[in-house]
Symmetry: C2
Subunit: 310 residues, 2 copies
């Protein structure tokens, strides 16, 4: 089985490769915009630099592949708010072209990594299942949702075996933080640098944090077991607010002689107050479930952060 992972040399992609190496049986090609991947992708994994506008190369790669996992995205919620037109131009044309190409071939599966943290918008109920209305309050959430709609359209009209995954907030070793994404990584880095961490609102926001290896396992589960045309949350089902999270992190940093300084700022317009995902659909169809507790996941992340503080 030949698997093409588009934009797969990032934080999540690398852990997905480890997970795939364990399960075996797939020949893997990763593409990205860098000349070389910044970290080792593991034995037997090929890497190729392809720019988004090189659609003819992508056509050949999709021809080669039996399966595609699509991570390609070049914005995050916060930057998308500053320039929503840039967010459209950087993300939609490429993903639409890739999905259209895929619809003209016979793939076993096309998995798009969407965003469970942003496509739903303000929650009407918690935890949020996949039938919850989708009214994003960030441009990033809107374009992620639009890409899902293209995939589902080609599933309905041409039988593309499209699956959209909606992960919660991933965290774990390898995440850099900053740019308004990766609250845990950002908090730990600020602690190591002796700088304060800012939360927005008295207790900040409630999020569904999913350890990166659990997310990678969820992606593999979906790749193996999800029905074409399905949309699947991947989350822990547990909501943790920023204040609670910082209390846990502070215990770890204090052990190392570092006290976390926390600043409070007013709510930002583009944050949903709470996001907790109901992932029972994926659990029921594949047996997948998150295995790493938040304490254990944070310990691993803190250890990695200390070793990689440069």
């Amino acid at each position: 089985m030949r698997l093409l992972i588009v934009g797969g040399a990032g934080f999540i992609g690398r852990r997905l490769l480890e997970r795939l190496a364990i399960s075996g049986g797939r020949e893997v090609l990763v593409t990205g915009r860098s000349p070389h991947p910044k970290v080792s992708l593991g034995a037997g994994v090929s890497y190729r630099q392809v720019m988004p506008e090189q659609t003819e190369i992508y056509a050949d790669l999709v021809d080669w592949a039996d399966e595609v996992v699509d991570f390609a995205y070049s914005s995050v919620p916060q930057t998308s708010f500053d320039d929503p037109v840039r967010d459209v131009l950087d993300n939609l044309p490429f993903n639409v072209a890739l999905i259209k190409m895929a619809s003209e071939r016979s793939l076993r599966k096309f998995v798009f990594v969407s965003s469970g943290g942003t496509v739903y918008g303000h929650p009407l109920r918690l935890p949020i299942d996949e039938t919850h209305p989708t009214n994003p309050i960030s441009p990033y959430g809107i374009t992620k949702l639009a890409v899902e709609k293209y995939g589902l359209m080609y599933w309905r009209s041409r039988g593309l075996k499209f699956v959209a995954l909606r992960p919660g907030n991933p965290y774990g070793p390898g995440q850099i933080g900053g740019r308004g994404q990766g609250f845990i990584a950002t908090a730990m880095r600020q602690a190591l640098d002796g700088k304060p961490i800012t939360i927005f609102g008295e207790r900040g926001t409630v999020r569904d944090y999913i350890y990166v290896d659990d997310l990678a396992a969820g992606i593999v589960a979906a790749l193996n077991s999800a029905d074409a045309g399905s949309v699947l949350n991947i989350g822990s089902g547990v909501g943790i607010d920023n204040r609670q999270m910082l209390d846990i992190i502070d215990k770890m940093t204090t052990r190392d002689g570092i006290t976390l300084e926390v600043l409070t700022a007013p709510d930002r317009g583009f944050d949903v107050s709470a996001n907790v995902l109901d992932a029972s659909k994926l659990r029921n169809l594949s047996g997948w479930e998150p295995k790493v507790t938040v304490e254990s996941g944070l310990e691993k992340t803190w250890s990695w952060m200390k070793e990689n503080r440069a």
Copy 2:
């Protein structure tokens, strides 16, 4: 009250201007991409050629305006299917930039003319109300839906007084037909040219046809009465399949000595089989209702077609 109508010199825009002239009280400026509007826009209406990329001019115009009606769209469902990336590039950046601009000013209302015929996709129930899931099966429907999401996002985050209207299939005098849109106009023109009309599937598709003056009245009703953040269907609530429609048209053409020739082709992947809209939300809030029966509307359309066959 100053009203900016973006892309307002088209088929629906012109009838909207007539309706606005009757109700009075608004100073109207229409923009479009043509150097001059192709038809008279009526007394007291200004026209200005502005290209979509001239965002600084649009910034000035939005500064000038108290209200905006946004018709700007340069694709139709059928062409969008041939080139979904072009559909993204031609429609999203401009509409997103316009809505963002509007969100930075204090407008009384921003009305976006979306598409009740395409945003819902295959119906789960008929008639379709505004809470029906939105899973478009054309790229055109996806980008229309995305523009709605931007407007609603800026309503939630910045208080933009955004309203999305979802009309059914408009028809009436002034519609040209062809390009896969305007079934009635296309059928009448084919009849006048002695050419056959093709329907897809044995009875074709079921559509909610709304006479253009009723649609224009609905837009004015929404402009005057709709709450910010609302999404409103505008339709007749009556479903008519292609075969039924051609039977009615054939009675008119036969009176003029023309027999309509009908060809049947297989279903197309990008048509929904049926689309009938429940417009009770707009009716209840504004008292608006469609006034023109399909027979009467078709007579007016046929008369106009005969007079304007060149």
